[in-house]
């Protein structure tokens, strides 16, 4: 993967950087197929037909390539498609890559483009992703007694992890006070509860032959695009369904997961997601985070990469970056932030939790 952050390179160049590193690492000269994830390059950079643009840019114009999109979870959606192609016996090696380039645009424009993943009727009310996340956060705090301190500790923990990740957007630690005193964005959410606008790309090579890490399970879950159609704001059905499908396929449950990469586009989403995936019992994620259980040296390290908050969130790159981090963690290559784990879980949220994914990776003995 590439370093995330403000990058001057074009998206095809960023994707090529990530792809070359993944191919070299897998010792694959030329993949049988390519799956590209990009959420909205048409509007961020003005380019479309991304499968063809990227396979040609990589010098693989004869390799079949397609593009996959499920909003902000497009990376794990592409990983799923690559996995299906191999599981079905169509291909032996598939290059899965994703990325986004947005930092060259003004922030209101980026928010507006990302906001197009929201229900059109609800967008007429000026709802943006932070607005809906603010609404959800207030509902969770009211229902479960989750505190702003517990929510803020997610950002503190993820920034601390990112100081050990050379690929991360932010390399600085933040204090709990700095998070809690940061500018109000969408009451009760503050600036440091929200992920940054990042550029970057990530890539992984899936292989039919046994490697050091295997895909144990993968699942998708969905929810109506309209937030007003949900009867409950305090958990995400799409994550719960995705997790159930992934655990069913793996033949084991959350008790075997020892490291997780979670979609903290907004800090409270990490806490909701830890409970939706069954990694932490309902109502306990805030306390567990404050107690250090999810820290790098805790019982269940969560987002050792720094998560979306601090590693950064180049939309379609994110799900694949989670897979890359877990692969490094499970094969003992996460230098400077290595945890002890044999099973890892990646969870990715598309839109305002309308199209979510959970993947389970396992180290081979």
């Amino acid at each position: 993967m590439t370093r995330f952050g403000r990058r001057e390179e074009s998206l095809p160049d960023l994707m090529a950087e990530a792809a070359r590193a993944a191919l070299a690492d897998a010792d694959v000269e030329r993949p049988d197929a390519i799956v590209v994830a990009a959420m909205n390059p048409e509007e961020f950079t003005g380019e479309g037909n991304y499968g063809s643009l990227i396979n040609t840019h990589l010098g693989f114009s004869r390799v079949p390539a397609l593009r996959v999109e499920t909003a902000t979870s497009s990376g794990l959606a592409a990983f799923y498609c690559g996995y299906l192609a191999i599981a079905a016996g169509f291909h032996r090696t598939v290059l899965v890559l994703g990325g986004e380039k947005m930092s060259h645009l003004p922030t209101p424009r980026v928010s507006e483009i990302i906001g197009r993943s929201i229900d059109p009727h609800e967008r007429r009310y000026g709802t943006t992703m932070p607005a809906l996340a603010g609404l959800i956060t207030r509902a969770v705090m009211h229902r479960t007694g989750l505190t702003l301190r517990e929510i803020s500790q997610v950002a503190v923990k993820n920034h601390a992890n990112a100081t050990r990740n050379p690929y991360a957007h932010f390399q600085e630690a933040v204090t709990l006070e700095a998070v809690m005193d940061s500018r109000m964005v969408a009451d009760p959410l503050r600036l440091y509860h929200c992920c940054p606008i990042s550029d970057g790309a990530a890539a992984v090579v899936l292989h039919a032959e046994a490697g050091p890490v295997r895909v144990a399970g993968i699942g998708q879950g969905t929810e109506a695009i309209a937030v007003r159609y949900r009867s409950d704001l305090t958990s995400f059905r799409a994550t719960q369904s995705a997790a159930q499908a992934a655990y069913r396929m793996a033949g084991f449950g959350p008790e075997r997961v020892e490291v997780a990469e979670i979609h903290d586009a907004f800090s409270p989403f990490e806490l909701i997601s830890l409970e939706d995936t069954g990694l932490i019992p309902a109502g306990k994620a805030g306390r567990a985070t404050l107690d250090g259980e999810t820290a790098l040296d805790g019982r269940l390290p969560v987002s050792p990469s720094g998560g979306l908050k601090a590693r950064g969130h180049p939309l379609a790159a994110t799900g694949i970056a989670q897979i890359v981090e877990l692969t490094w963690q499970l094969s003992g290559r996460a230098e400077g932030r290595q945890v002890k784990a044999r099973v890892g879980l990646a969870q990715s949220i598309g839109g305002i939790a309308t199209n979510n994914w959970v993947a389970l990776l396992e180290a081979r003995p």
């Binding site: 209101p108 009727h121 009211h142 949900r230 704001l233």
Partner: protein, 142 residues
């Protein structure tokens, strides 16, 4: 004082789910929905104040999600969120196809209760129960 409005909705013939504004198909059953309507009075599910709203909206932007009787939820704008809590009873009204919420005073809630009890004799028991519950909740919250 507020005046009660009627909000257009649609209902799934299978699961009886009510949605606002009316939609062509039930989000869960793919069936064609039937036209319906619901009184413009409900309860705050959650709310936020957005300090950097998108183009075309003034900051700060007050947005609330309101649940109407019958379970349909809708987004609303409001002049302010001071005095509003999750569970507060509010009235909703559309102006230029955008819904706005406003707090219900104790007098408003009492008036709505009596008017509705008179207008819909056949449903009096159910409505009385629901409104009395609403008034009681509103009062107990202060």
């Amino acid at each position: 004082m507020i005046h009660e409005t009627i909000v257009s909705a649609s209902r799934c013939p299978r699961c009886r789910r009510l949605v606002v504004p009316p939609a062509p198909s039930c989000p869960d059953h793919g069936l064609r929905m039937e036209p319906d309507s619901v009184p413009g009075v409900g309860e705050v599910v959650s709310f936020t104040t957005l300090h950097s709203p998108p183009e075309g909206f003034r900051s700060p932007l007050h947005i609330a999600l309101i649940e109407l009787e019958g379970g349909a939820r809708l987004f609303c704008h409001g002049d302010e969120t001071r005095g509003i809590k999750i569970g507060s009873r509010v009235a909703v009204e559309a102006v230029d196809a955008i819904f706005y919420f406003s707090s219900l005073s104790f007098a408003d809630r009492a008036r709505l209760f009596w008017r509705r009890a008179g207008a819909r004799g056949e449903k009096v028991t159910a409505i009385t129960k629901s409104v009395v519950k609403g008034i009681w909740k509103g009062r107990s919250r202060g």
